[in-house]
Amino acid sequence: MPKKSDLMPGTLDMMILKTLTRGPQHGYGIASSIKRASDDVLTVEEGSLYPALQRLLLQSWVKAEWRSTETNRRARFYTLTAAGRKQLGLEHSRFEEMIAAIGRVMQDA
C-alpha cells in the first residue's frame, strides 16, 4: 500500500480538495472517500491527513466548522472555498500534464 511519501508531492492536497468538491466532509470521511475511490489502493494516514488539512486551512483553500453528523456526533467539517476550487483546477491540470509527460516517457518507442 503506498504511503504518503510514495505519493507525488502535492497530490494528497489535490485529492483532499477533489473529495471536498462533492460537499463538506470531516477528516475521517475524507480519508475513507479517498480509500474508496481508489479501490483501497491509497490509504491516507492520519499523520499526513491532519497536517495537510492545517496547511489547506492556512492557505484559505478550505474552511472548517463544527457540525453534527447523521449519528448526532460533533465533528469538524471541511468545506471547499472559491480559492480552493481555483487551486484544485490549477493542480489538476498540472497533474495531468505531469502524468501525460510520464506516460510519454514510459511508452514503448
Partner: protein, 881 residues
C-alpha cells in the same frame, strides 16, 4: 497579502493554543472512533479493533505536534528548546564552564586581533576616495622609494599627465614660545593644495589657498584638532590668533577635523606651507620630501608609474649631475601607510584563528563525549515522540546557547585586550600608526564576531547530529550498543585531537621562530655599548645662535657643563642617533677612482670629537677627531668598515680624499680613520657604508646629545635637561630617552616583540588546550574500555602491559599530530619569512624543541589516564557491567 493573512492566522492559533489542541484532540478521537466502528462492523472483535486502530494511528503526541508545526509559530518550540537547553547546561556546570571559557578565549583573541586588522587594513583612510591617492617618491639605486627633491617635485607637478593634483610634504620642527619659555613642537611643511588633494577640509577656519606656499604667502599655520584641544583649550576664537614659532608670529588660519590623521607625519601638530624654502629645498640634489598625488579618472597606478618614470628620465637627461639614476616610485598611498604592519597583523590574525580552531575542536569533542553519555536520553525522547528534526533542533539550540555565552564573554575579553594592547603601544608608536587609535568594536568587528559565532555554532550543532542516528533508538534504550559506538567515537575524537595537536605545533613553531628572531634582533652586533647612554634632542633658537661660531661655542659650553656633572663619564653630540635607520645620506666620489657620475650613497653623520669614545666604538685604524677641528682646519672624515669593504677593498683608505660628484674644492675631505660598523640602520637591516664628519666643521641648530653615565642613565635625563636649560632657557630639549629605550622601543623591536609575545601567548594557550584535548580523548577511551581492561587483567595481563597499551594509543596520536604539525608549520612559516630575522623558517632546533615540548606534555597528559587504567580492579570492572 496572502503571507500577511497567513501570519495573522498563525498568530491567532498561537493565542488560542489550548483551543487548537482540544479541537485537534476531539477531531482525532472522532476519527479513531469512526475507524473502530467500521472495523467492528466488518466483524473484528472490539478489543482487537481498538488495538489495531491505536497502532495504525501511531503516536498521538507526535501527530498533534506535526499538525501544530504547520499552524504554529517556530519560536514557541524554540522557546521550549531554549529552556531545556539552559536546564541541561546548568545540570553540568563543569562542561558548560569549560566550553564557554574556551570559546570566549578563541573568540575574544580573534575578535581583538581582527579589530586591529580592521583599524589598520580595512577601515578606509579618512580621505576622500582614498584608493585613488598615490604615494609619489623618487627611486634611487639603493632605495626602492626615496625622498623627493623639491626642485624635482616642481617639475614633476608641471610635466606629469596622470595626476589631477600632485602635492608634497616634509617634516619640520619649531621652538614655540610659551608663557613658560620655549617648547619644541613638531610640524609638517606642505604645499598649499595638500589638504585638498587628500579631500580633507578644516573643521574651523580655512584651508591654505593656492599660492600661499609661495614666498609672497604669509606666515600661516593650520592646527590639528588634538593640538587645538590640548594647547589652546579648544577655544572657538582660535582662528586669527597668532602663535610664535622660531621667533616668527604665525597666524592660525584653520583647525583640522578630529578624524584627520596622516601616518607619515603622525606627530605633526602644526601644519605650515613650504613658503620659506630651506637650503636643501633649493638644491635639486637634496631630497627631503614625499609626494601625494590624486590619479586622474581612468588612470591606473601602473600607468601613473610609467608616466612618472618617463618624466624622471627626462629630468635625468636635463640634469645629469643631480638626477643620475633617480627614477620614480608610485604606489597606492594606503600601501605606504600600512605596508609595514600588514604582514604582522596577518600573522597574528592567522594565529588567533588557529587558536579559535583549537578551541572549537575542543568544545566539539566535549560535545561528542556528552552526546555519547546522552544517548539514552535521546533514545527515550525519540521513543516518546520527538521527531528527528526536533531532536536536532535541540542540539542546535544547545550549541547556540553555548556560543552566545562564549561569544558575549569573548567580546568582553576582546574589548579588554584591545584596550590593553593599545595601551602597550608607546606614544611614538601610536603617532607612526595613528589609524590604530581608532580601534573599536565597530560594525565590521561585530560582523566578524557574529560570523565566527555562526560558524562555531554550526560546527557544534553538526557534531552531535552526526551522532543522533535514526535507526538505533532501540539500541540506545537497551544501552547495548556501547562497544561499537565507543569505537566510532574514539576514531572520530582521535582525529580531532590530531588536528588540535597539529595546530598547536604550528603555533608553537611560529612563536618559537618569532621569539628567536626577536632574541637575535636584540642581540645584533651594535659595535657600540648601548647601556648607560642618556640621549636627547636639542634645538638651538636660530635668533640667538645664527652663525657657526656661536653654534660651536654653545655646543662646547653645553658639553663642558654636562661633563662636569657627577655621574657623567663623557658627553658628545651627533646629527643622528645610532640605530635610527639608514638615511641622511650623501653622494660621494673618491679621488683617483674611476667615476661615471653614479650615485655612491653613504650614511652621513656629523659628530663631535669624543662621540666614538662615548659610544665605546672601536677604532680600527687612524685617529679620532680633535675638538679644535673646525672650519679653519683641513676637512677630515672617518669612515666605517662597510665603507672600506665597498670602496677600498684590499686597499688602505687612510689619507685618501673624497668629495661630492663634481669633486668641488669645498667638498673635499681626507679620510683619517676607520671605525667599526656602528649600527646606524634599524636592527633588522644591514648598516650601509658611513662617513662621519666633525660637527665643528658643519654645526647645526638641531643635534642629538649622547652622554655616557656611570650611574643609571634614565635617572640622569632630568638632570641633563635642567643643566641644558640652566645654560639658556631658550634652548629646546625633547625626546629624552636612554639609548636602550631607543633600541627597545624602535618600531622594528616593537613589532617583533609584540608579535613574538602575542603568538607566544596563542601558542601557550594552544598547547594547553591541545594537551587537555588529548587528556580528554585518552581518559574517555580508558573509561570506555574499563571492562575490556578488566578482562585483560583477569586473564593475566600485567600492569605494565596496560600502561603500554594506553601510552601506545596516546603516543600514536601525538606522533601523528606532531608530524602533521611539523609539515604544516614548514609550509605556514614560509609565509611569515618577512617577520623572521637571522633564522630560516625551517630552523631545526626550533622544530626539535617544539616536538620535544609537545611530546613531553602529551606524555604527561596521557600518563594519568594510563595510571588509572593500570590500577583498574578486574573484579570491580567486571561486576560494574
Amino acid at each position: 497579502m496572502d503571507s500577511i493573512a497567513r501570519l495573522f492566522k498563525k498568530i491567532g492559533t498561537l493565542l488560542r493554543r489550548e483551543r487548537f489542541n482540544s479541537e485537534l484532540e476531539e477531531e482525532m478521537s472522532f476519527h479513531r472512533e469512526q475507524k473502530e466502528k467500521d472495523l467492528c462492523e466488518a466483524g473484528v472483535a472490539p478489543a482487537a479493533a481498538h488495538r489495531a486502530v491505536a497502532r495504525e494511528f501511531g503516536n498521538p503526541t507526535r501527530l498533534k505536534e506535526q499538525s501544530y508545526e504547520v499552524m504554529g509559530m517556530r519560536f514557541e518550540t524554540v522557546w521550549q528548546d531554549l529552556h531545556f537547553a539552559i536546564r541541561q547546561l546548568r545540570r553540568s556546570p563543569g562542561f558548560t564552564l569549560t566550553a564557554v571559557l574556551m570559546l570566549a578565549l578563541g573568540i575574544g583573541a580573534s575578535v581583538a586581533i581582527f579589530a586591529f586588522v580592521d583599524a589598520a587594513l580595512i577601515k578606509p583612510l579618512p580621505y576622500q576616495d582614498p584608493t585613488r591617492l598615490a604615494d609619489v617618491a623618487e627611486r634611487g639605486r639603493l632605495w626602492p622609494r626615496s625622498n623627493l627633491s623639491y626642485q624635482d617635485y616642481v617639475d614633476w607637478k608641471k610635466m606629469n599627465k596622470v595626476f589631477s593634483a600632485l602635492e608634497a610634504y616634509t617634516g619640520g620642527g619649531y621652538l614655540m614660545k610659551t608663557a613658560a619659555g620655549v617648547e619644541p613642537v613638531t610640524a609638517a611643511r606642505v604645499t598649499a593644495g595638500f589638504f585638498r588633494v587628500l579631500g580633507v577640509r578644516p573643521e574651523l577656519g580655512r584651508d591654505f589657498y593656492d599660492g600661499e606656499d609661495q614666498p609672497s604667502g604669509g606666515d600661516t599655520v593650520i592646527l590639528t584638532y588634538q593640538s587645538w584641544q590640548e594647547r589652546f583649550g579648544g577655544r572657538k576664537d582660535i582662528v586669527g590668533q597668532t602663535v610664535n614659532l622660531d621667533g616668527v608670529p604665525n597666524t592660525i588660519v584653520g583647525v583640522l577635523p578630529a578624524s584627520f590623521h596622516f601616518a607619515p607625519r603622525g606627530k605633526a601638530e602644526f601644519w605650515v606651507t613650504l613658503q620659506k624654502l630651506n637650503n636643501c629645498e633649493k638644491r635639486r640634489s637634496c631630497h627631503n620630501m614625499f609626494g601625494v598625488g590624486r590619479l586622474k579618472d581612468g588612470v591606473s597606478m601602473q600607468a601613473a608609474l610609467v608616466d612618472m618614470t618617463a618624466v624622471a628620465k627626462q629630468l635625468e637627461i636635463q640634469y645629469p649631475g643631480s638626477n643620475r639614476d633617480q627614477g620614480a616610485s608610485v604606489k597606492p598611498l594606503y600601501e605606504q601607510l600600512v605596508g609595514d604592519i600588514r604582514p604582522i597583523l596577518l600573522v597574528l590574525l592567522g594565529g588567533a584563528v588557529l587558536l579559535l580552531v583549537i578551541a572549537c575542536v575542543n568544545v566539539s569533542s566535549l560535545l561528542l563525549v556528552r552526546s555519547e553519555s546522552r544517548k539514552r536520553e535521546i533514545a527515550v525522547r525519540g521513543a516518546l515522540g520527538a521527531s528527528r528534526s526536533r531532536l536536532v533542533r535541540q542540539f542546535v539550540t544547545e550549541s547556540l546557547v553555548l556560543v552566545v555565552m562564549g561569544g558575549l564573554l569573548g567580546l568582553l575579553f576582546a574589548e579588554v585586550s584591545m584596550q590593553g594592547l593599545s595601551r602597550l603601544m608607546s606614544k611614538d608608536m601610536l603617532a607612526s600608526m595613528p589609524y590604530l587609535a581608532g580601534i573599536a568594536l565597530n560594525h565590521r568587528v561585530a560582523l566578524f564576531a557574529v560570523a565566527v559565532c555562526v560558524l562555531a555554532a554550526g560546527l557544534f550543532a553538526l557534531t552531535p547530529i552526526l551522532r543522533v542516528p535514526l535507526t538505533t533508538l532501540r539500541e540506545g534504550l537497551t544501552d547495548g550498543g556501547r562497544g561499537t559506538a565507543g569505537t566510532l567515537w574514539r576514531r572520530f575524537g582521535a582525529n580531532l585531537v590530531v588536528v588540535e595537536l597539529a595546530v598547536a605545533v604550528v603555533l608553537l613553531v611560529g612563536a618559537g621562530l618569532l621569539g628567536k628572531s626577536f632574541y637575535k634582533l636584540l642581540h645584533v652586533d651594535l659595535a657600540f655599548q648601548p647601556d648607560h647612554l642618556a640621549t636627547m634632542q636639542v634645538a638651538l633658537p636660530q635668533t640667538t645662535y645664527p652663525k657657526e661660531p656661536q653654534l660651536i661655542a654653545i655646543q662646547r659650553k653645553l658639553l663642558d657643563r654636562i661633563r662636569s656633572l657627577p655621574g657623567v663619564q663623557s658627553a658628545s653630540v651627533t646629527s643622528v642617533f645610532p640605530v635610527s635607520g639608514n638615511g641622511n645620506t650623501d653622494w660621494i666620489r673618491i679621488v683617483g677612482k674611476p667615476y661615471n657620475g653614479e650615485h655612491n650613497e653613504v650614511n652621513q653623520r656629523e659628530v663631535s670629537s669624543d662621540y666614538f669614545t662615548t659610544l665605546h666604538a672601536k677604532l680600527e685604524r687612524g685617529r679620532f677627531f680633535t675638538d679644535d677641528e673646525d672650519a679653519s682646519k683641513p676637512k677630515v672624515v672617518i669612515v666605517n668598515k662597510a665603507f672600506v669593504r665597498q670602496y677600498f677593498p684590499g686597499e688602505d683608505p687612510i689619507g685618501r680624499v673624497m668629495g661630492d660628484g663634481d669633486l668641488t674644492a669645498k667638498s673635499l675631505r681626507q679620510i683619517i680613520a676607520v671605525v667599526d660598523d656602528i649600527k646606524e640602520s634599524s636592527l633588522d637591516v644591514d648598516t650601509w657604508p658611513a662617513e662621519y664628519t666633525p660637527m665643528n666643521q658643519g654645526p647645526d641648530n638641531y643635534f642629538g646629545l649622547v652622554v655616557r653615565t656611570s650611574q643609571a642613565e634614565g635617572a640622569m635625563l632630568p638632570v641633563l635637561r635642567a643643566t641644558v636649560q640652566q645654560v639658556d632657557p631658550g634652548i629646546g630639549v625633547f625626546d629624552e630617552q636612554t639609548q636602550l629605550q631607543r633600541i627597545n622601543e624602535s618600531q622594528t623591536a616593537y613589532l617583533h616583540r609584540s608579535s613574538a609575545w602575542l603568538v607566544g601567548g596563542f601558542a601557550a594557550m594552544a598547547l594547553l588546550l591541545g594537551v587537555v584535548g588529548l587528556y580528554g580523548v585518552i581518559a574517555y577511551s580508558v573509561s570506555q574500555r574499563t571492562r575490556e581492561i578488566g578482562v585483560r587483567m583477569a586473564l593475566g595481563a600485567q600492569q605494565s602491559s596496560v600502561y603500554r597499551m594506553i601510552l601506545k594509543e596516546a603516543g600514536w596520536l601525538t606522533g601523528v599530530g606532531i608530524l602533521a604539525g611539523l609539515i604544516c608549520s614548514i609550509a605556514v612559516t614560509t609565509l611569515m619569512r618577512k617577520l623572521l630575522f637571522g633564522i630560516h623558517s625551517w630552523d631545526v632546533s626550533t622544530l626539535a624543541a617544539v616536538a620535544i615540548v609537545l611530546g613531553g606534555s602529551a606524555l604527561l597528559a596521557s600518563y594519568f589516564p594510563a595510571r588509572r587504567a593500570a590500577s583498574v580492579n578486574p573484579v570491580e570492572a567486571l561486576r560494574a557491567e
